[in-house]
Symmetry: C2
Subunit: 307 residues, 2 copies
């Protein structure tokens, strides 16, 4: 049982609050807007509505009016401030002196390397990126991305904490644009936009190709295990047989096209015909209900058949 | 109720046999090797073991000793012969005369465009690619890929048949290397190999990034709906905000690297440490049990929350 400070209470910070509190940690949430901090607590309350453990979990969550109060006595700080470099830099300058140097600070940033906002800090060795996929209370993956000066012990601590609260951390050896998750997503999206731009299939058909096809295996195996099981003796045989074909495709996919305005407009039209703009909030609830049900189903199947 | 001929009884043909028979069609299976045809029936029997409908489904399946016998009276032919052009060409030359011209012939080929083995046929207009993801009895996606001379009615017929037997067809506007599924997989694999080659993460961590992260949303939404729900007003806003970031990543990902022998060897070592070669068959059973359980869970969630 330890104490976690959540700094920044948007969608990501709110979900983190639930992650740490349901795992048994005391959580103090802070946002420059007191309403945002209250909204994070309301989010947790709404997510837990009707569950027997709701009150016990909510009892572990407190709001703090100031940054000082939020981090006082914290054993870990999860920063989820807006994705703007000046904001992060100003915030970390304050955390540098407010938070005892042995306390690890993880940033939820999806796009800014830790080096860009921690370089000049006295305590920069305890800072790293701890990047979730949104929302972390439903999607377990977390990317740990050290700056060049991040101490190995800080990465170790963050990894152990993430595992302890039920997340699934991966550790990048160094900073890289987009980290791993957005680089993989970038590669898939690049080809998805290309297929629509070239008139091969619609955006809905690309979604079908994934959601009714590739996504079924990737949901529990990932791409390497998928191909490893698709050749009699494993991945080396698969690469011998199909490597040249894939290299040929890669050469056809090597033009890094920007997503043009007409292409984006066409996809926007297609999506709005499927889900009108005013129904997007409802569709997001649909997504989160699906995710919650899937996470439960996956845990059940894992108990039965193993990892 | 109609009659389907399955030509070629490897892994794909066997799974197709189950798809058509469980949907109520009479199925005649043929393979140059009578043992392979019997193995397809045995596969269906094994897959259905213990289910109440097993005997009724098996009663619809017959083996044919000759190609002539197999296609006699067929309303549709699903060809799943080996992926070698001379074999396909020789087979289609025979099908051209054996199968009445109004009967559609779909090829399971994953890599050969229909134009490469149907160009010289008198009845080439009824031929197209009907490409499943393996195994089709568990993964519903099917790619319909017409040759330049394929009749629109043939594509229409194959699409309606696939929908009727519970598959999810997408229709490509024209032939393209790798079709849609393998192009999307190629893009993701290219980046996956790149990340391992550059020492950023292990192959197992790439698998985790997908199976514990990206794959959870792609399992039921696909990449476009995923980003559409990730900005307040939808995909156009997402592209405005993040398009430049993704274009930057695409430029870093534009070198079409071959999968080098040392890289493949390293991944093979990692995979064999996770699953020794002699346990691969067992692991494939694990995969198929997971897929079957997931397909059931997905159908259940879909009944509850909708598509």
């Amino acid at each position: 049982m330890s104490r976690v400070a959540i700094i920044g209470c948007g969608v990501v910070g709110s979900s983190w609050t639930l992650v740490f509190a349901r795992a048994g940690h005391d959580v103090v949430v802070h946002d420059p807007s007191p309403e945002a901090a209250e909204a994070a607590v309301a989010f947790v309350r709404g997510s837990l509505a009707g569950t027997p453990e709701a009150e016990a979990i909510l009892a572990r969550i407190a709001t703090a009016a100031s940054l000082e109060e939020a981090v006082a006595g914290a054993d870990y700080v999860q920063e989820s401030a807006p994705e703007r470099l000046p904001i992060k830099q100003a915030l970390y300058a304050r955390l540098d002196t407010l938070v005892p140097p042995q306390v690890v600070i993880g940033s939820s940033t999806s796009g800014l390397p830790a080096s860009s906002f921690t370089e000049s800090l006295a305590t920069r060795a305890r800072c790293l990126v701890v990047h979730p996929i949104n929302p972390p209370h439903l999607i377990p993956l977390v990317e740990l991305v050290p700056a060049p000066w991040t101490a190995a012990e800080a990465v170790e601590f963050a990894g152990a904490l993430m595992t302890a609260v039920g997340q699934e951390p991966i550790r990048l050896s160094r900073e890289i644009n987009g980290f791993v998750v957005n680089r993989l997503q970038s590669a898939l999206l690049g080809e998805a936009f290309r297929l629509v731009e070239d008139g091969i299939v619609s955006a809905a058909e690309v979604d079908k190709a994934v959601a009714d096809g590739l996504g079924l295996r990737w949901f529990f195996m990932g791409p390497f295990e998928t191909i490893d099981l698709n050749a009699a003796t494993g991945v080396a045989e698969y690469c011998r047989n199909l490597g040249p074909m894939y290299h040929g495709l890669a050469r056809e996919q090597a033009d890094p096209r920007p997503w043009s305005a007409p292409l984006v407009a066409a996809i926007e039209r297609e999506r709005r015909a499927a889900v009108p703009g005013e129904r997007l909030p409802e569709r997001r609830l649909w997504r989160d209900r699906w995710l919650a049900a899937l996470v439960a189903a996956k845990a059940q199947i894992r108990r039965e058949f193993g990892r």
